[in-house]
């Protein structure tokens, strides 16, 4: 009875089909993932350098950040950061006399995912930087490069091949973590799927459809990642 009752028209792009809504949700997911991932990279780069070259206090604070974020479920972090983060921001801006600021769900989502990703990228990048042979950096110093130039010209590009596998993994985690923003009512793919399923009662259909969309996202990402890795690994002999 179930099989012949699949109503494919529910997936039509135009309303009353829900296909368009799902795609819009997917776009939202991708936006958050992209934003959060980029923010995570920025935080991660800072965190990695802080952990490696910072003073003892900075290093410990970074350690606390990465440990806590990696030990507490994303779901809990999202709730905490989503409410507390915006609450705090509001209070700060109120104290400064700006009145309440409006934080869009998108911005909040990006922020939350970014903070979570930042902790993981810190570790990935730190490990990758450590994997750069000391001699490479010493050679740069011996040729009179300034610390900043060493980072730009040697450390960062040399660590890239070491970091890429970890970073690509993080990207895949990131795309899926966007689903957790459903719990704060952000209309990314998972939440709109749930709405569509709840409204139409076609649970199987919509969950499968969303699954396919996520899978596509993963597969396409993997393809792109492979191209990037191949480029970054040029200098390294094949194993």
């Amino acid at each position: 009875m179930a099989a012949d009752m699949i109503n494919w028209s529910l997936l039509a792009l135009e309303p009353p089909g829900w296909g368009g809504v799902l795609l819009a949700g997917l776009m939202n997911s991708i936006k958050i993932a992209l934003g959060g991932y980029s923010l995570g990279l920025v935080l991660g780069t800072g965190g990695a350098f802080g952990k490696l070259y910072g003073g003892p206090v900075l290093r410990d604070l970074m350690e606390v950040y990465t440990t806590v974020v990696r030990a507490v479920p994303e779901l809990v972090l999202i709730l905490l950061l989503y409410y507390a983060g915006t609450d705090l921001l509001n209070r700060v801006s109120a104290a400064l006399g700006y009145g309440s600021v409006d934080i869009s769900g998108l911005a909040a989502g990006i922020f939350v995912i970014g903070v979570v990703q930042g902790a993981y990228s810190t570790e990935v990048l730190r490990g990758a930087i450590l994997a750069v042979p000391a001699g490479q950096i010493e050679a740069a110093r011996a040729f009179g490069m300034s610390p900043l130039m060493i980072m730009r010209r040697v450390t960062l590009p040399a660590m890239l091949p070491h970091a890429l596998p970890g970073l690509s993994n993080l990207w895949l985690i990131c795309t899926k973590d966007t689903a957790l923003l459903a719990v704060v009512g952000f209309s990314e793919l998972t939440l709109v799927t749930r709405q569509a399923a709840g409204t139409t009662k076609a649970y199987m259909l919509f969950f499968c459809a969303a699954g396919v969309l996520y899978l596509l996202l993963t597969l396409v990402s993997s393809l792109i990642i492979r191209v990037i890795e191949a480029r970054a690994r040029r200098g390294w002999a094949a194993r």
Binding site: P133, G135, Q136, E138, A139, A140, R141, A142, F143, G144, M145, S146, M149, R153, V154, P157, A158, L160, P161, R234, G235, W236, A237
Partner: protein
């Protein structure tokens, strides 16, 4: 012997790592065109001495002057020394061509990119000019056809020759070699020593740490024997190898055959 200008002058250099005093007052002057070979047992501080010259290790006491310009040092909180002007150090380093035992080519750059990196990004040479000069140097060390290859795909000997080209590319006042052949398989040593020998013939200022006694004898104008952190003996090769005075040197020479 005419009085040539001082290329590198080290005065009364001390270096300690924690409790271990590695260098205990070393003075050495290399004039333009000198080829100085530093020999000595393992752990005698040869590498440390060489690295102090371009401040990869900061001395605990003493001074280093490059072409008459003394590197400014000041005391730091821990009682040691530290360069007072980072830019000065960077500027002086940019004219000292260092060749490491383990090559240390930048793995993410092709050979030609390695060679032009410092000229372009440190010395500000226009890229086209740097490439032209870089290619000439690669041709000279016999690596022109490997210009667009990444270091990982070269043999050790080829990598070391590329590293020498890289050091030459900055038109250095002096070249510093730290055991440039000891990470190489015996059959690859020759090709690198050949290149260095050619440089010596051109009267380039060079300080080289080496274990290859025969090579040191043929190439160096002056030999310095380090032992227990001091210069135990020094002099022209004939004297050092032919008529060693110190017991330690005698023992060292007889054991390194």
């Amino acid at each position: 012997m005419t009085e040539r200008a001082e290329a590198i002058a080290v005065r009364d250099l001390y270096k300690r790592f924690g409790a271990l005093e590695v260098l205990k007052g070393i003075s050495l002057t290399a004039r333009e065109g000198d080829v100085i070979a530093i020999i000595g047992g393992s752990g005698s501080g040869k590498s440390t001495f060489l690295r102090c010259i371009n401040m990869l290790e900061v001395p605990s006491r003493g001074s280093v002057a490059i072409r008459g310009e003394e590197i400014a040092l000041r005391s730091d909180r821990l009682g040691g020394l530290t360069p007072s002007d980072r830019r000065q150090v960077q500027r002086l380093r940019a004219r000292l061509g260092m060749v490491f035992q383990s090559f240390n080519l930048w793995q993410h750059m092709t050979i030609i990119q390695n060679v032009i990196e410092a000229p372009v990004h440190v010395l500000g040479v226009p890229k086209a000019e740097a490439i032209e000069r870089g290619e000439a140097l690669l041709r000279r060390v016999g690596l022109f056809d490997k210009r667009d290859v990444y270091p990982a795909f070269l043999s050790g000997g080829q990598q070391q020759r590329a590293a020498i080209a890289r050091a030459l590319a900055i038109q250095p006042h002096a070249m510093l070699f730290d055991e440039p052949t000891s990470a190489l398989d015996p059959e690859l040593v020759g090709e690198v020593l050949g290149v260095i020998g050619d440089l010596a013939q051109e009267q380039r200022t060079m300080i080289l740490v080496t274990h290859e006694m025969k090579f040191a004898r043929n190439v160096a104008s002056h030999i310095v024997f380090l032992a227990h952190g001091v210069i135990e003996e020094q002099g022209p090769p004939e004297q050092i190898f032919g008529d060693p005075k110190s017991e330690l040197l005698k023992k060292f020479i007889s054991s390194s055959h």
